[in-house]
Amino acid sequence: MNLELIRASIPEIIDGLGFTLLMWLPGSALALALGLLVAILRHYGGPALDRGLQALLGVLRGTPFLVQIFLLYYGGPFIGWDFDAPTAGLLGLSVYGAAYFAEIIRGGLAAVPRGHVEAAACVGMTRAQTLRRVLLPEMALLILPSTINMLIVLMKETAVLSIITVPELTAVITGIGSLHFAYAEAAFMLAVCYWGLTEATGLLGRGLERRLQRFRLA
């Protein structure tokens, strides 16, 4: 293995890593916000809206991210969505993630004991207050493990954005690999980078769970 090549590539890899983070972190934040919105709409919006959103989520979760991002980037211009690659990537990742987060959050809301909501009603809290001060915080605690998991999935899905020419980690490193015919080195560097990010996220998640343990009953 050509360690000299790996060393020489570090500045480029850092640039790629930066782009990966730029796609992943804002993309995840948007996905969470959008997923939350969809879950709340499903929770309060009545059966018709619920079914409509459920069908939409079914399509998003039933097709590969690769296909979605292809459609958005190469198909988008036909209906006037002429995004540059990073914008399309960020948008695509947000919508894809939102479909999963919506489901995770819906499950979390459903898992908050009904009695906690009844207790809020009995002390005179409005529906909006109950949502903000009881349902959402309790839901957030419940979904923490699956949220961390989903963040890791989204992080790895950013690799797909290389095919629409977003200069993120995978694009940069496979580029280096092709240029120097060093495919093994490239694959190795990629694995190390993604694994490092995954470990860091998992560590953060476990730390957070430990800190929040006392907020949990049983």
Partner: protein, 270 residues
């Protein structure tokens, strides 16, 4: 004459085709402690939950201190009152649940002060001062900073009582408040409730603690199949269980030391 604390007239509640509450008329006077007893499925919890408007009654009228709760009689049947009015009437009621239902992400103090801050709109220092006073009243001032997960079941239930009391309701409703507690922890919760009764709080209690009911309640209501099978003063109901169904129900408590309650030769000394 002042209005009764609670008046139910012809209250019905259905679940699908099952009639859980079947035309209940009940009056609870201010300062009175009323206990609802009866076998499982007799509708006692459902009836209490109707009084808190956690279940919406399908027929009949519920009045809290003279104000209709949830529905008022209209020209063509009843009309549903606006949410704001429901919330206003509900403010007279404090509710305590079998499962405590404390919010796990808030401390004991947070649980008690929450509604003071966000419903009564007190500033945080004032809300916390008042919350502390009520935690002190249930003997838990030293646990104010603890989260529910760090409290015993009995302590959690006492925090839940403080949370309801802090809003200064006229009526406290208790839904099997000791049924999820060890016998050892039951005593501390019943002690707090006994103190409330002594202070003249109007209380409606669904309970299996027949001994407690016999000693604290002025008014005992025996429900069966969604109807009031028998009601009266504690001594009338327990000392002279002439109703065979009540006698059978009370017999199940015999081996728990309640035999003295239903022995007919027992004198009526308090």
């Amino acid at each position: 004459m002042t209005a009764p604390a609670i008046r139910l007239s012809g209250v019905c509640k259905n679940y699908g085709t099952h009639r859980a509450i079947d035309g209940v008329d009940l009056v609870v006077q201010p300062g009175e402690v009323a206990c609802l007893i009866g076998p499982s499925g007799s509708g006692k919890s459902t009836l209490l939950r109707c009084m808190a408007f956690l279940e919406e009654h399908d027929d009949g009228l519920i009045e809290i201190a003279g104000d209709p709760l949830g529905f008022a009689p209209g020209e063509n049947g009843r009309i549903r009152l606006p949410d704001r009015e429901i919330a206003r009437v509900r403010r007279s009621i404090g509710m305590v649940f079998q499962q405590f239902n404390l919010w796990p992400h808030r401390t004991a103090l947070g649980n008690v002060s929450e509604a003071l801050r966000f419903v009564l709109r007190l500033l945080r220092p004032a809300a916390e001062r008042r919350a502390m006073a009520y935690l002190d009243r249930v003997g838990l001032a030293d646990r104010a900073g603890h989260y529910p997960s760090q409290l015993s079941g009995g302590q959690q239930q006492r925090v839940a009582i403080a949370r309801a009391l802090a809003l200064e309701p006229r009526i406290m409703l208790f839904d099997e408040p000791t049924s999820s507690l060890d016998p050892e922890l039951t005593g501390e919760v019943l002690g707090v409730m006994r103190g409330l009764a002594a202070d003249g709080m109007t209380m409606v209690i669904v309970t299996h603690e027949i001994g407690f009911a016999a000693h604290v309640a002025q008014h005992v209501v025996f429900l069966e199949q969604g109807r009031i099978a028998l009601e009266g003063s504690a001594s009338a109901v327990f000392r002279r269980p002439w109703n065979p169904r009540l006698a059978r129900f009370l017999e199940t408590y015999l081996d728990r030391g309640a035999s003295m309650l239903i022995a007919p030769e027992q004198s009526d000394g308090a």
